[in-house]
């Protein structure tokens, strides 16, 4: 029985002799173009239409009518032909329909020479297009197949031919139209067109890419003047074809699924069919910004989180399979050893070997599945990383070279990278939403994991200070001028070198507070601000705040905790950690928890309310889906790089300019 194809689906052909029947709701022209190995239409002689000289292996009906019959003998086609496109176009004579949207959906049926159905395809979803490639027959590894294409062109036949890579597409289109005019003269009166009352789909413009963009047709065509398509485009037919619509990157057999993500319940309408390409079997090439969302930033954010989830899940699948393989091998070994009579015999030896082989085989397959997913994610990561805006980008990204103080705060910020031991080379950005819901605790103590067993405590401490500066600098850089104020507590003054980029650039409004007095003063100021803002919000009287309250977000960096902090200061810190985030005051502690033990359990709630990050790679963060322990890598500025100082210099300059 016949297969009813959907757009993009293919179907094998049983024999070389075929008939293709086309019926449309009104008079249309059916024509056939031939393509070479690259899908390119080599010369105008490769177009078979009703006015053209006959081509070997092709027979096209000789009139513009609502029904067409095209006979194809695939074996009789020239050797160079790898592709046969069946296309429909509207004749542009007066009084004719100017777009397929006004006609009933054309139906294409592929049958054997004796009329047995092979495949059918209804070209739905057409709107302003006046030419459409309905189906294509193509040669794949010696066998011919039919694929439902349904690629429409608002620019008409000329645009269609141009897209197939034909030099002088305009002349050829004109020739076809002439031939059609001649054919139409001897054609019987067309049957009355069924008025297309049906509402068409949402297609507004063709989605085909320009030649060259798909890697199918080589370079753009110098012979075809740019106005070629425009000259013949039936003007009222609708919006012109966009100059360079984004070319779907995929090719070969169409896979409707997103390369990685599972389809949602309510399946979206099938994505546009990628134009035929000569390079089959390549997986979908990922693109940056391929997530849901209204802005590019949101799409990238969601894409990064999607990659994070995919990486977590594919690793869970791999680990699950390996665990199962291990436990099965153990069980089988146990069974082989259970019988004392055969424990030492050659049978037991063989059973043990078999168990080991079965494990290895399963692990290999799991590894292959993991590699497949990792390759996809790595490819995605390679296109996503360069596309990330400053808030999401690594410090070595070129976007920092073109850094400008933004006009709007970002939705999230990158706090580092995450990786799993199975694929340490593939790192996912760790994006955290802004404003921060929790403060940060940069652990200056010895890393708990084995990731850095020989860490030098002095080095760790220094890196912790640098990490605090890098994170604070990034937060300053991604906020508009004056919308984030950074306070630094450095009671003993030991963090001076690490703070240099902040202090030297002038990005800090006040110098780091030193001594118990300075600490107390800053903490009192921030506590008062939190109190006032909370009070004002409770009474909905935010306009009654005293003028000296800084309404910008506040980030407090606490160095050297707990040295120089008295009980009162500690209580205030706890208060700020708990209540600050909702009032726009965020805390970043740089501290070694071991050293703070002397305060006893009173500080435990403080640590718990903070997000711990480490200046050296450490696996202490769990993902929200399967709970793997991810290795966190801090976003330290590369050694010797001046990027942070330069960026902070711009921040300070912008603030001066705006007088904030």
């Amino acid at each position: 029985m016949a297969a009813e194809l959907v757009r993009g689906q293919n179907h094998p052909l049983p024999g070389s002799r075929l008939e293709i029947r086309v019926s449309a709701g009104g008079p249309v022209i059916a024509a056939v173009t031939l393509g070479d190995e690259a899908g390119r239409l080599r010369d105008p002689g490769w177009i078979a239409h009703l006015g053209s000289p006959p081509l070997p292996g092709l027979e096209v009906s000789r009139q513009a009518a609502a029904d067409h019959r095209i006979a194809v003998d695939l074996e009789a086609l020239p050797e160079a032909v790898h592709r046969v496109n069946v296309l429909l176009a509207l004749s542009t004579g007066a009084g004719r329909s100017l777009s397929f949207g006004a006609l009933a959906a054309p139906v294409v049926a592929v049958t054997g020479p004796d009329g047995t159905d092979v495949a059918g395809y209804t070209v739905t979803g057409l709107g302003t297009e006046s030419a459409v490639v309905a189906v294509e027959l193509y040669r794949r590894q010696g066998a011919w197949k039919v694929r439902a294409v349904g690629q429409g062109y608002a620019g008409g036949l000329a645009a269609l031919l141009e897209d197939q890579g034909l030099p002088r597409a305009r002349e050829s289109a004109a020739a076809v139209e002439e031939g059609i005019a001649a054919g139409a003269a001897r054609a019987p009166a067309p049957p009355p067109a069924r008025a297309g009352g049906e509402v068409r789909g949402r297609r507004t413009a063709p989605v085909g890419g320009p030649p060259g963009a798909q890697g199918t047709a080589p370079e753009a065509l110098p012979e075809a003047p740019p106005e070629a398509a425009a000259a013949l485009r039936p003007a009222p037919a609708g919006p012109p074809a966009p100059p360079a619509p984004p070319a779907p990157a995929a090719s070969g057999p169409v896979d409707y699924r997103h390369p990685r993500r599972t389809p949602r319940a309510a399946a979206a309408p099938p994505p546009p069919v990628p134009p035929p390409s000569a390079r089959p079997e390549t997986p979908d090439r990922p693109v940056a910004g391929d997530g849901p969302g209204r802005s590019m930033e949101e799409r990238l954010h969601n894409q990064v989180w999607g990659m994070f989830e995919d990486l977590a899940r594919t690793t869970a699948a791999y680990r699950g399979a390996v665990d199962f393989a291990d436990s099965r091998m153990e069980r089988e070994m146990d069974e082989a050893l259970a019988d004392p009579r055969s424990r030492l015999g050659p049978g037991a030896e063989a059973a043990r070997a078999r168990a080991g082989e079965r494990r290895a085989e399963l692990v290999d397959r799991a590894r292959a599945a993991l590699e497949r997913d990792l390759a996809q994610l790595t490819a995605e990561s390679e296109v996503v990383e360069p596309a990330l805006p400053p808030a999401f980008a690594r410090w070595d990204s070129p976007v920092w070279d073109a850094y400008r103080v933004p006009a709007q705060a970002p939705m999230a910020v990158r706090l580092g990278d995450l990786a799993l031991p199975e694929h340490s080379g593939l790192r996912v950005p760790m994006l955290v939403r802004l404003p921060l819901e929790r403060g940060l605790w940069i652990d200056a103590g010895r890393a708990s994991s084995a990731a850095s067993p020989t860490a030098d405590p002095h080095r760790t401490r220094r890196l912790a200070g640098e990490l605090a500066t890098a994170v604070a600098g990034r937060l300053l850089a991604v906020h508009p001028a004056g919308e984030l104020t950074v306070h630094v507590l450095d009671p003993t003054g030991s963090a001076g070198p690490a703070l240099a980029p902040l202090t030297e650039s002038g990005a800090l409004r006040e110098p780091p507070a030193t001594g118990p007095q300075g600490v107390a003063q800053v903490l009192a100021g921030l506590t008062r601000r939190v109190d006032l803002v909370r009070m004002a919000e409770r009474t909905r009287a935010t306009d009654a705040l005293p003028p000296d309250v800084d309404l910008a977000g506040q980030l407090l960096i606490v160095h050297d905790f707990p040295h120089g902090f008295d009980d009162r200061a500690v209580t205030r810190l706890r208060y700020l950690a708990d209540e600050g985030p909702s009032a726009g005051v965020h805390l970043m502690m740089v501290a070694d928890r071991e050293e703070a033990r002397e305060y006893g359990p009173v500080l435990d709630p403080l640590w718990r309310s903070l997000l711990r990050i480490t200046p050296v790679p450490d696996d202490h963060l769990a993902d929200p889906w399967v709970g793997h322990a991810w290795t966190y890598e801090p976003p330290l500025v590369p050694a010797g790089s001046q990027v942070l100082s330069r960026v902070l210099g711009r921040v300070a300059e912008a603030r001066r300019r705006y007088g904030r």
């Binding site: 995919d310 899940r313 791999y318 997913d373």
Partner: protein
């Protein structure tokens, strides 16, 4: 074309052109049967829950149900709990999506079950069905209608298991009792 399955019947999940399916959706729909009572036809809300249990060998390794909507590996997804069933006819009330290509290599069977969480028996459910849909194009591959009646509160609907390189679905239709899938485990094991 839909295959109307009967109990124990198996259908291979191969496409007509020889390719294997990549993603399927197990859809479940039901309506509460109208009861004659003091106030005439008044239906009672019935909460059926679809669950999928993933087996490696004979050993359950993961479950997708209304409290754990996505399997750890991400290949099986539940679209969310529906507490009352279909007010109208036809559509799926709960659905479980299976991305067959991404199912971990050690998982060889996925068993789909339906439980009456509110405890009513299937005698009070009507028009219940379970169907398997090719997620890529929305075509229904197989439909299995729950035979009405019966004083059981759960049913083991079908299993999808590996068959050579591809997958096969077998309609099970075994009656069981239990409000969640945990209660069904003893009934599932003999069917693997």
């Amino acid at each position: 074309m839909t295959v109307n399955l009967s109990k124990g019947q198996a259908v291979s999940l191969q496409k007509s052109d020889g390719g294997t399916l990549t993603a399927v959706r197990m859809g479940l729909g039901w309506q509460a049967a109208p009861r004659r009572g003091l106030f005439g036809r008044r239906t009672q809300e019935i909460d059926l829950d679809a669950s999928a249990v993933l087996f490696a060998g004979q050993q359950p390794v993961d479950v997708v149900f209304f409290r754990h909507l996505v399997s750890d590996d991400g290949s099986v997804r539940h679209t969310g709990d529906n507490l009352v069933g279909g007010a109208g006819q036809g559509g799926d009330d709960e659905a479980i999506l299976v991305d067959l290509q991404r199912v971990p290599v050690h998982i060889d069977q996925i068993v789909f079950t339906v439980n009456s969480f509110t405890g009513q028996t299937f005698a009070e459910v009507q028009n219940a069905f379970c169907r398997l849909v090719d997620e890529t194009n929305g075509q229904e591959l197989a439909r299995y209608t729950l035979t009405g009646g019966g004083r059981h509160t759960a049913q083991i609907m079908a299993k999808v298991h590996r068959q050579g390189e591809g997958w096969q679905m077998t309609a099970l239709g075994t009656e069981a009792n239990g409000r969640t899938f945990q209660d069904l485990m003893p009934s599932i094991t003999p069917l693997l």
